[in-house]
């Protein structure tokens, strides 16, 4: 398989991590990553970044909100005349 080069590898980065590449594209990326430190580091970085973004963005529900949601129960009523 011919080496697609770093530019192509960069293009495949997101779909590679999302596991949405076709088999051919996957093989292309794999063959390049095996040889290329530069791209391998950047793929690994992207993986860590995604984890870190998620970790940073997650905020727990404020205390008290659950009780407010509980209070809304029953607004749907039931259909007693069907």
């Amino acid at each position: 398989m011919t080496d697609p080069g770093c530019e192509k590898c960069e293009e495949l980065l997101q779909d590679f991590l999302d596991r949405t590449l076709t088999n051919e594209e996957w093989a292309l990326a794999e063959s390049h990553l095996e040889e290329c430190h530069y791209c391998r580091r950047r793929y690994r970085f992207e993986e860590s970044l995604r984890r870190y973004v998620k970790l940073s963005a997650i905020e727990r529900m404020p205390p008290g909100l659950m009780a407010k949601l509980e209070e809304l129960r029953g607004v749907g009523g039931i259909d007693a005349t069907a």
Partner: protein, 206 residues
């Protein structure tokens, strides 16, 4: 005047096979309670997405409450066995768009779209190429700066990034929630992630 036919022939509830009618009501009440419990069990995950779609905690709280009020009112339109989390988020994103409450980015922050390696390259240039090998290299950026960068992405791109990367929704779920084709989800996701990295490269990397 004659009452409408349906009313004329409908017997009062008490006369209409009372046991069966009582059973039906009891069953409906059970179904509703089960629905409400399942929905409430997802509240933390619903809030997590809501929080990143709007600008403040207060707005996120309001949005989640409005979502649950509507969901509880329309519980019959939910099909049991389907993805309730996606169903709730569909209500939530619609309400959010209706209220025009999505975080508006400042107009001067129109990012050029840099390539996918841009942020990594920026970090490598300050911390060295080998730093990229370390898991902790991302921690050179503060968590606050990540949240801020996320808020600065254009809403249409951010919605997709938040649903997929923060909310763990599939492309298909995100497409259904936002009522856009899956190809649009994918292209917005790619562009949104690039925009996020661009903002981080500008703001979070010294």
């Amino acid at each position: 005047m004659q009452p409408p036919v349906a009313q004329r022939y409908r017997r009062p509830v008490s006369e209409a096979e009372p046991a069966t009618e009582a059973q039906r009501i009891a069953r409906e009440e059970r179904d509703r309670a089960r629905f409400e419990e399942e929905a409430l069990g997802l509240a933390d995950q619903v809030y997590r997405v809501a929080r990143r779609l709007v600008g403040s905690r207060e707005e996120a709280e309001d949005l989640v409450q409005e979502t649950y009020a509507r969901a509880f009112r329309s519980w019959r339109s939910y099909t049991p066995g389907t993805n309730m989390r996606a169903w709730l988020l569909r209500i939530l994103t619609n309400l959010n768009v209706d209220r025009g409450r999505r975080v508006q980015r400042s107009p001067q922050l129109q990012p050029l779209e840099e390539s996918d390696y841009y942020l990594a390259n920026k970090l490598a240039s300050t911390a060295g190429e080998e730093a990229l090998e370390q898991e902790q290299v991302v921690e050179r950026m503060s968590q606050d700066s990540i949240v801020k960068a996320l808020a600065d992405i254009q809403p249409q791109f951010r919605d997709v990034v938040v649903l997929v990367d923060i909310g763990d929704f599939t492309y298909a779920d995100a497409a259904q929630i936002l009522d856009i084709p899956m190809g649009t989800v994918m292209s917005r996701l790619h562009r949104g992630r690039r925009a996020l990295k661009q903002r981080l490269a500008e703001e979070a990397v010294a």
